[in-house]
């Protein structure tokens, strides 16, 4: 099968799965609803049903899709950025930094909310971006920086942020329940305002990533080679780092830290459709959104109560990841 046919097949399957996922998300929940109810609602616009279908369930599905797409795109960018298929938003410290902010806010009872973000969400966003900026500044050297330096600095900063997170959890164990929400992620608090806040930024980053996709292909084979081929390397690198950090920080701010999507989805997609970054960015976003949509369905329906979604993403993602790795050999 050629890569082109493979790519088409991938898109058809993914789009179909995505539509089915949205439909299932709208139909399942604590209140029993049938497809018939949905059809009747579309004809009659019942207020109670609008609250259930549109405000509770569709908003949640849209948010889950957006966050999944943002995380997968962020991961795809960082894997190219570091020329390392093991990179994800954790390696530059965004995720750990954001967890720290959320846990501090939760343990101090910081409630101020804005733009549809809760207090911890807001602080998570700020501290996530703060940690990346710090990592970037610390990695700067005269005449640019080396990617190895930023990678190691990011890992060190991430470890430090995790240690502080554990410290706050230990000191204020009464905030543990709320902290779990931020450390493992959930869409329980989803509402339209959050989706509306992150959607424009996601679209902006998505378009910018596609615009610079050819540059990323060149970077994948070495910075000096890329520049010799005509890529303005320092500027492109800055833009990609900013995009990936913004995408990850926004995701954490609305849904907590959801691991594995940023690592595993771009990796799957690359195995299926090849390394070209234009197709990889677009396909990763679609596949990541679809993946998280289904993970959220499982998180809501697997047990009587809701499971943190991070548990599902890892439990579903890891075995499938291993399967693909071995199939490839």
């Amino acid at each position: 099968m050629s890569r082109k046919t493979g790519r088409r097949l991938f898109w058809v399957v993914c789009l179909a799965a995505c539509l089915v996922g949205f439909l299932l998300s709208i139909l399942t929940g604590p209140v029993k609803t049938t497809p018939g109810d949905l059809l009747r609602f579309i004809q009659n616009h019942d207020r109670v049903q609008a609250a259930i279908f549109i405000d509770l369930r569709l908003s949640r599905a849209v948010l889950a899709f957006l966050v999944g797409a943002a995380l997968a795109l962020s991961g795809a960018i960082l894997q190219g950025y570091f020329r390392n298929p093991m990179a994800d938003p954790f390696v530059v410290g965004v995720s750990s930094g954001a967890s720290l902010g959320a846990v501090i806010a939760a343990s101090l009872g910081f409630e101020a909310a804005a733009f549809g973000f809760s207090g911890p969400g807001l602080l998570a966003f700020i501290s996530g971006l703060g940690v990346v900026s710090l990592v970037y500044v610390l990695s700067l050297r005269r005449g640019g920086f080396k990617i190895e330096t930023i990678l190691l600095t990011g890992i060190a900063a991430g470890a430090l942020a995790s240690a502080l997170t554990s410290f706050f959890l230990f000191m204020r164990s009464d905030s543990y329940d709320q902290a779990v929400f931020w450390l493992l992620g959930s869409f329980q608090l989803a509402e339209w305002r959050q989706a509306a806040t992150i959607a424009p930024w996601f679209v902006l980053c998505f378009v910018a990533a596609l615009w610079l996709a050819k540059d990323m292909d060149l970077l994948a084979l070495g910075d000096e080679a890329a520049q010799a081929l005509g890529c303005p390397v320092p500027r492109v690198r800055k833009a990609f780092l900013a995009m990936s950090a913004l995408l990850a920080a926004l995701s954490v701010a609305v849904s907590g830290v959801i691991g594995f999507v940023g690592l595993v989805v771009p990796h799957w997609v690359r195995i299926l459709i090849g390394p070209g970054h234009r197709a990889l960015f677009a396909s990763s976003a679609l596949a990541g959104g679809t993946f998280l949509l289904y993970c959220d369905l499982l998180a809501r329906n697997l047990l009587a109560g809701e499971l943190p979604i991070g548990v599902i993403t890892a439990a579903v993602g890891a075995p499938f990841f291993l399967y693909l790795l071995h199939k490839k050999r």
Partner: protein, 272 residues
């Protein structure tokens, strides 16, 4: 007029200059090899000439334009580069790699135009990788991979071709094959070729002019027959050798004077 005019060029990395005040003029259509010990500044010179290093002083003029003041995109139309062979990380196919050479001649969102496809096909034909175009880099031998990267540089359609140790990590048959292709590009396409090279015998067989670097400065320069002497090799490489003429080609040939070299303390200089 020289196509590459290097004037008082000093260049290096964060911790200082590696090459010092080098001045060279390279004529259009020349095949030049830059030789020297590890750390003598061969690669540094190749990189500095196309503005890949942050720390430079002096001037490089390519085809009338100051290299240090040109955008990467404009420079890519004048100078093409074949970097040292590295392990590929992502599984690009050969044809995708070669198409990357067209980057500077395409819009960012454009697909390959007929001119791009023609240039890619021509580059693959000249380097004989056409039959490999659907293969992934990891499926290629070292020689095939090197040819794919030369094809990428050719697709750039630039008059000057710079290479950083193109024979590194290659078996002798591939070394000859790669240099044969380069020679063909010089002869048939009029390319100006500048290659950093550690193998003196190989360079002597293909290049018309050799430039020997020692500790970041030019130590000897000229045709192979003029520059490859036992005295020069002793002075530049710290090795005792015998030189004689190849009976078939008349080119200088180096043979190791075993025994005499083994006891000599090699002076340490430079960096890897």
């Amino acid at each position: 007029m020289a196509i590459l005019d290097i004037k008082d060029l000093s260049a290096g990395y964060d911790d200082g200059f590696v090459i010092h005040d080098i001045s060279l003029a390279i004529e259009p259509g020349e095949f030049v090899a830059i030789l020297g010990r590890n750390g003598s500044g061969k690669s540094t010179l190749i990189k500095a000439v196309q503005n890949l290093l942050g720390n430079v002083r002096g001037r490089v003029v390519c085809d009338g334009d100051d290299v240090f003041r040109m955008s990467p995109r404009r420079l890519a139309a004048k100078i093409a580069y074949v970097p040292q062979l590295a392990e590929p990380i992502f599984e690009y196919a050969v044809e995708e790699i070669v198409l990357m050479g067209r980057f500077a001649r395409q819009g960012r969102l454009e697909k390959a135009s007929p001119a791009d496809s023609a240039a890619v096909d021509e580059a693959m034909r000249l380097t004989e990788v056409g039959s490999l175009k659907a293969k992934r880099l990891s499926q290629l031998s070292g020689g095939e991979r090197q040819r794919a990267f030369i094809a990428r540089a050719l697709a750039q359609d630039a008059p000057v071709l710079l290479l950083d140790e193109p024979s590194l990590h290659l078996d002798i048959s591939y070394q000859v094959e790669v240099y044969g292709i380069l020679k063909g590009l010089q002869k048939n396409k009029g390319k100006t070729i500048v290659a950093a090279e550690h193998n003196i015998t190989l360079a002597a067989a293909y290049a018309e002019r050799l430039i020997f670097l020692k500790s970041g400065a030019v130590a000897a320069e000229g045709a192979p027959g003029e520059t490859i002497s036992a005295a020069n090799i002793r002075e530049i490489f710290g090795a005792e050798v015998d030189i004689r003429e190849n009976i078939r080609t008349g080119l200088p040939e180096i043979s190791l004077a075993a025994g005499e070299t083994s006891q000599r303390a090699r002076p340490r200089d430079g960096r890897a």
